[in-house]
Amino acid sequence: MIHSLFLVNSSGDIFLEKHWKSVVSRSVCDYFFEAQERASEPENVPPVIPTPHHYLISVLRHRIYFVAVIQSEVPPLFVIEFLHRVVDTFQDYFGVCTEAAIKDNVVVVYELLEEMLDNGFPLATESNILKELIKPPTILRTVVNTITGSTNVGEQLPTGQLSVVPWRRTGVKYTNNEAYFDVVEEIDAIIDKSGSTITAEIQGVIDACVKLTGMPDLTLSFMNPRLLDDVSFHPCVRFKRWEAERILSFIPPDGNFRLLSYHVSSQNLVAIPVYVKHNITFREGSSQGRFELTLGPKQTMGKAVESVLVNSQLPRGVLNVNLNPSQGTYTFDPVTKLLSWDLGKINPQKLPSLKGSMSLQAGACKPDENPTINIQFKIQQMAISGLKVNRLDMYGEKYKPFKGIKYMTKAGKFQVRT
């Protein structure tokens, strides 16, 4: 099982270590540092590194490496999933997961890590339960604690841990009962030079914020459940019911949680909401190159495409660019060669464009690689897959809750090759 955990910052210092079994010397991280040196980019450090006596499994989040040390055969995914859970928990507790936040809350961090693993076995990883055991630090609570002498640690046995619905604490009470669901879809796509789609898929999630008194039993049904053939559920969802009736039936955890994530990969279901016209050329023997980029909406069901940001890694030979955006602003970093254009909203009447020239190193030959254009955007009030919630019903409690549902589409890894 998991032996130890080291947190390493971007400058390569170990700033926290925690051992669940016997102490493993810090020097084991030297193997990690070697791998880190070999990697060209921070994210290229391999996630599993063997050393003579241990294995190091690491994830990089918020520019901190979480390095777990294991000694025997342990499923690596188990370790990685657990590390993600640690990151999520820190973020949940401290708002951000940064070196400063962790150092500021080092005792809470220790208490948390101690609760999350026992002898390397996961103990309590549900944020609901952890929060009952260890209260998250807030400014108010710190002040109150200092004055009254009360503590951060819950006195009660986390009852939820033993019930049949371990994800929900008992005795929940709200004056305003509300249940909100966000359907968020990210579209990952690779578009080739000619504008045709090479791959496109949708990663969707339904995040919920449920604040309901007592033990509500919810059912959520969809207009078009057939879209969802590849789904991962929160443990609260009754799988049998889904298999039989395609209805989500569940007793929700209290607060924020991810009800479901899904994946739509069949290409004809994935609409591409924007198109790009581009002309990026270098002439042989000339130190100038041409750059033209125009974006336009496509298959958006009349919704506006907003917060559009275009990034492109230009070839190394490019010294500088001189471009003229029809809207928004652009920046070019001559060191990293990253071109970034923040153009805001796409107006279908007047399509945004970015045109101008690139100057190349004098005498350098024409760059061989073609820059890839990376696009980020958001579309409110629409799920690009067409997924629609039909209705939400509540059983088991008498009151009438407020219900709400929001849709949003975002670009995930949306790449256009040139």
Partner: protein, 946 residues
């Protein structure tokens, strides 16, 4: 205010100050002080001097304070064992606390204090907690047993905690079950042969029930444990699969992958024509695809496993090619893995798409990735014949880009394409020659030189080209030098008139001016060959080359099967068996896929799936089991190799033959040197005497043999011997032997009644045995056996019975019942009855496997006084399903390369050396389970002498 304030005090006397605060009356001050102590501890300051003061704070009803003190204790108890005793009382008291949270915390913390004196006191509270009414306490205690076992294994066994832990598998609370399984799995890792997790249908059922209700982590433990179970039949296997399938929709990717492992393993047992089999295949694809949209670290592990799955069952993901397309901001380790899988999935249907993608990748920035992409194009050409033309034109396009490393990689792969499809694409040679100057890497230079030499007759200025390389001969790497030598000799044989000077120059460079023995040797060989008999030289050097194999980097099948059983583990990430690298696994457990039952391809008897359960699994074993060892043959401890083993043969022939296939280029080199034995007669005087040994040769005749085996006569069957004398069995005498006929193992029995009364109601059962042999039907003795009558019975056997390692391995304990009594006897079966009909390995696989199995797993034996020639031996062995893959004659010795496969999937590879005129044969056996070697040898001896 944050915790960082605890770090700020750096005044002198800090310890003193803390001491005062710890002893303060005010609770709040105490707690702040402990927090300061903990904070100092986390940054590595030594605060052990405060031990007594901190321990004094332990007796508190404040939970946070208690926890902090516990944190401190865990850290320092080891360094201050005597002081730690002070804490014991509080622990023991806390274990009786009415609050289950406190009880659990106390027992959990005690387990973390690795001090012998404390562990002694831990036993009683732990025993109580294991039986606590509160499941939270029980599940904590379960883990504590594992902790204690880590500190003092003997104590845990003596105190009977293991049994209590086993009982917890049947606990009513799913979390307790999960933790018990986790603890047992961890303990079992250090006791590979103990049957801690004795899985039977009842426990399996309990685990499956708990699976639905426990936490995600618990599900991982349970699924991993389930994967070790061997279902009795396909129906049980299907029902487990059905109950595991919902886990594929879990949000935790580790759960998903563990579920995939269970399904991949149990699927093996399902008949392929079953509807459910198809359904299951379809269900496996989406979760695997979903794993690829997760974080890159998860993707990497998933991809490594998908790589295995694709090799085992390509049909699962054959329509999902697109998800493996590379995104430009994927980390490099993800990119390379995706590329590898793309090639594995490439087929005629999707090749166009794949090629377009690969071409795109070849213009990326990352050099390593670009190189691999170019190589991938070549691999596609070799794999999918229809695409070869398109691949070649794509490669030519890439060569036109003139990007140096792209051109070099392209040339290396085009050479392979020439090898695979001779006389098809040679028109591109002109284009290749244009790029001669830009090649600076040895591999690319060597490839280009090979092309020039091979097609010298089509290249007008081949001599000039080669000559230009010759100028800097001594600065080239060995690879290039060897290639240049061969190429020039080829050129000379093709255009002898113009190139005599050139060939002399290169031969003298190679033989006189070089320090490299390989180069010198090869130079001498050519020299002598050319000077003795140019016609023979032509035949040898310009001989037709064997085609190169399609996929060179497939994982060898036995290893693949083992890795499939280890999906989701480190082994699957490294594609190595766990025994190869996991430290601390003190015994190695080889896992294997269960045999498929019911379908035609298997070797089990047809009765297998039949209802009614006449097999031994339906009724309890007659013989009380003598040992409760679980281990099937593959669970064996592969410790020291068999005592008779010797290091791998150094004959060089073998090594040469293996290497020949190992790398494309060397093959070329090996080709020309075949059959050169005769040419030695007029050797130059400088020829080193050692020359006749290291020649790689023999490829041709090594491989020509396989199919030439005649049809076989019946396999050798040993005469019957008496197994159960009449004295011991109240007048019943049993003698018998074993045979294998048409894929079915038969136990031939003669039952003789030497008593005075009639015998009836015969029945037979086997005890668990190494290979799971079991009667496939009842013992057919229909008429009563009257006194002095003998009856011959043939009992078909299958090998789906329960497995347990026996000593000796081929021992079989049998119980026979009649109207008088039950009799026990044991007999030994020849291992050959387990050799299955499809035990003939592909040559390439054979070579790869032979190379892959290390020397420790090799055993060598002498067979004495044997008078039989190699063909007869080969025929004889073939009738026992011992197949000759290849035959070679070296130095007057006949070498037979043979393979056989045991019914449980173990492959045994053999090399039999027969010296003409000498009655002594040498047998080398390689096998991943070296225990069987001895028995295989015994059988060889029996067959060859009879």
């Amino acid at each position: 205010m944050t915790d960082s304030k605890y770090f700020t005090t750096t005044k002198k006397g800090e310890i003193f100050e803390l001491k005062a605060e710890l002893n303060s009356d005010k609770k709040e001050k105490k707690k702040e002080a402990v927090k300061k102590v903990i904070a100092s501890m986390t940054v590595g300051k030594d605060v052990s001097a405060l031990f007594p003061d901190v321990v004094n704070c332990m007796q508190t009803d404040n939970l946070e304070l208690k926890k902090l003190v516990y944190l401190y204790l865990m850290n320092y108890a080891k360094s201050q064992p005597d002081m730690a005793i002070m804490a014991v009382n509080t622990f023991v008291k806390d274990c009786e606390d009415p609050n289950p949270l406190i009880r659990a915390l106390a027992v959990r913390t005690m387990g973390c204090i690795r001090v012998d004196k404390i562990t002694e006191y831990l036993c009683e509270p732990l025993r109580k907690c294991l039986k606590d009414e509160d499941p939270y306490v029980r599940k904590t205690a379960a883990v504590c047993v594992a902790k204690l076992h880590d500190i003092n294994a003997q104590l845990v066994e003596d105190q009977g905690f293991l049994d209590t832990l086993k009982d917890l598998i049947s606990d009513s609370n799913p979390m307790v079950v999960a933790n018990a399984v986790a603890a047992l799995s961890e303990i079992a890792e250090s006791h590979p042969n103990s049957n801690l997790l004795d899985l039977n249908p009842q426990t399996i059922n309990k685990l499956l029930t708990a699976l639905n209700e426990c936490t995600e982590w618990g599900q991982i433990f349970i699924l991993d444990c389930l994967a070790n179970y061997m279902p009795r039949d396909d129906r049980e296997s299907q029902s487990i699969c059905e109950r595991v399938t919902p886990r594929l929709s879990h949000a935790n990717s580790a759960v998903v992958l563990s579920a995939v492992k269970v399904l991949m393993k149990f699927m093996e047992m399902l008949p392929k024509d079953l509807d459910y089999y198809g359904t299951l295949l379809k269900k496996l694809a989406p979760p695997l695809v979903t794993l690829l949209s997760a974080e890159p670290e998860l993707q990497y592990v998933a991809l490594r496993n998908i790589n295995l799955i694709v090799q085992k069952r390509p049909e699962i993901l054959k329509h999902e090619m697109k998800v493996f397309f590379v995104k430009y901001n994927d980390p490099i380790y993800v990119k390379l893995e995706k590329l590898d899988i793309m090639i594995r999935l490439a087929s005629q249907a999707n090749i166009a798409q794949v090629l377009a993608e690969l071409k795109e990748y070849a213009t990326e920035v990352d050099v390593d990735f670009v190189r691999k992409a170019v190589r991938a194009i070549g691999r596609c050409a070799i794999k999918v014949e229809q695409s070869a033309e398109r691949c070649v034109s794509t490669l030519l396009d890439l060569i036109q880009t003139k990007v140096n490393y792209v051109v070099q990689e392209a040339i290396v792969v085009i050479k392979d394409i020439f090898r695979k499809y001779p006389n098809k694409y040679e028109s591109v040679i002109a284009t290749l020659c244009e790029n001669l100057d830009s090649l600076d890497e040895p591999e690319a230079r060597a490839a280009m030189i090979w092309i020039v030499g091979e097609y010298a007759e089509r290249i007008d200025n081949a001599d000039e080209l080669l000559e230009s390389f010759l100028e800097g001969f001594h600065d080239e790497s060995t690879q290039v030098q060897l290639q240049l030598l061969t190429a020039i000799v080829k050129l000379f044989l093709k255009k002898p008139t113009e190139t005599q000077e050139l060939v002399q120059q290169v031969l003298s460079l190679a033989t006189q001016d070089s320090d490299n023995p390989d180069l010198r040797d090869r130079g001498y060989i050519y020299w002598r060959l050319l000077s003795t008999d140019p016609v023979a030289a032509k035949e040898v050097v310009l001989a037709e080359k064997p085609l190169i194999s399609e996929e060179t980097d497939l994982i060898e099948p036995t290893l693949l099967e083992e890795l499939i059983c280890h999906i989701g583990t480190l082994a699957s990430v490294y594609h190595k068996p766990p025994s190869a690298f996991v430290e601390g696994s003190r015994g190695v457990q080889h896992k294997r896929l269960p045999p498929r039952s019911g379908s035609g391809e298997s070797t089990e008897s047809p009765e297998v799936g039949q209802p009614g359960g006449t097999g031994p699994e339906a009724t309890p074993a007659v013989i009380p089991s003598q040992s409760d060892l679980l281990g099937d043959l593959l669970n064996l401890d592969l410790g020291p190799p068999a005592s008779g083993s010797v290091p791998a043969p150094t004959s060089g022939m073998q090594m040469g033959a293996v290497d020949l296939l190992g790398s494309g280029l060397d093959t070329l080199v090996g080709g020309p040197t075949v059959n050169m034995g005769a040419g030695f007669a007029g050797a130059p005087a400088v020829m080193p005497a050692s020359l006749n040994a290291p020649v790689g040769g023999g490829l041709g005749d090594l491989f020509d043999l396989g199919s030439s085996m005649g049809m076989t006569t019946g396999a050798y069957v040993a005469p019957k011997s008496v197994w159960l004398p009449a004295m011991k069995a109240k007048g019943l005498e049993i003698s018998g032997t074993f045979s294998r006929r048409a894929g079915v193992i038969q136990m031939e029995l003669s039952l003789t009644n030497k008593a005075m009364s009639i015998m009836t109601d015969f029945a037979i059962q086997f005890n668990r045995n190494s290979f799971g042999l079991a009667p496939a039907g009842p013992l057919q003795v229909l008429t009563p056996l009257s006194p002095n009558q003998t009856i011959e019975v043939s009992l078909p056997l299958n090998n789906v019975g329960p497995v347990m390692k026996m000593e000796p391995l081929n021992n079989l304990q049998v119980a026979v019942k009649n109207n008088i009594d039950v009799f026990y006897f044991s007999c030994q079966y020849p291992i050959s009855i387990l050799f299955v009909e499809d035990g003939k390995m592909e040559r390439q696989v054979f070579l790869a496997t032979w190379k892959d199995i290390t020397g420790e797993n090799e055993a060598q034996f002498q067979i004495k006084d044997c008078h039989i020639n190699s063909d007869a031996a080969s025929n004889k062995l073939q009738s026992s399903n011992m197949f000759t893959i290849a035959k070679r004659i070296v130095d007057g010795q006949d070498m037979l390369y043979q393979s056989m496969k045991l019914s449980n999937g173990i492959w045994v590879l053999a090399e039999l050396r027969l010296q003409a005129g000498s009655p002594n044969y040498t047998l080398s056996l390689k096998c991943r389970a070296p225990e069987v070697s001895q028995y295989v040898f015994q059988y060889y001896e029996t067959v060859l002498k009879n």
